[in-house]
Symmetry: C2
Subunit: 155 residues, 2 copies
């Protein structure tokens, strides 16, 4: 169930970057059983890490706090609609509920590319954003087959 | 221009996880000006980090090596088609060329969810994979407006 106090906390994280210079104005809080597991903001600039969005940083911290890559049972509050990177990270983490404040259009309005990346994916990865070409599958398929044969963990 | 030696290197990283237990059978190499900037494999299990896919880990290492979040001019070799998280991270990093070995169908065939996440995004985020609900935009929009007013960096 949505609780405004946690959105206010995510917003405080976002505001920290308006006054500071760690990265963009995006903050995130992860909750489990009504308690804060982690809180974080975008650290792309300070960490030299283009993946350090607020949600990714909060997920990493939550994984450390709980000692697992599996955040089943957690809820995520974010000050803005997740970009496709963060949305997918949330799914990989097995989080099932996201509450967000600002929309993807709001992010586009101040110049961020979230909506454009969704458009690229929805267009079937066609366009000039990124070129992807497939090569030498016969070289790489062995690792997949061997992993499957070893019945290793899927996540 | 594609060079098989770098795909072989990405494949060696992937194979390290067939023999070891850091995470899934996925490896990645980032190249700039014909030289290796970083190489990495999936570390989801060992790092308790659901975001530590091969591509993400390689991007983080490249950011550290080059001292910037902007990997313009780099090319990325990955042993398998990037999932939507990694695809978006590559775009955020300003990498423009990806060479991959195994396909998304190959990953699905051994049980990974890459293709299912693409399907969820392409379906307009409809389905039972994740619930996203929007709340309290009037609380969060201030950070966006203030960030824009301050003419801070976009990336």
């Amino acid at each position: 169930m949505y609780r405004k106090e946690f959105m206010a906390m995510a917003n405080e994280e976002a505001k920290a970057n308006v006054n500071g210079s760690d990265g963009g104005p995006f903050g995130c809080v992860i909750i489990k059983d009504g308690k804060v597991v982690s809180r974080a903001h975008n650290q792309v600039l300070v960490d030299h890490d283009p993946t350090a969005h607020g949600e990714i940083t909060a997920i990493r911290k939550a994984g450390q706090a709980l000692g697992t890559h599996d955040l089943t049972g957690c809820e995520l509050y974010t000050s803005a609609m997740p970009c496709p990177m963060c949305l997918s990270a949330i799914i990989w983490a097995n989080i099932k509920q996201v509450y967000y404040g600002n929309t993807a259009d709001d992010a586009a309005a101040i110049g961020f590319r979230d909506a454009a990346i969704y458009d690229f994916i929805n267009a079937g990865l066609k366009g000039d954003m990124l070129a992807l070409t497939q090569h030498d599958r016969e070289l790489t398929i062995g690792a997949f087959k061997d992993y499957q044969s070893a019945q290793k963990k899927l996540y």
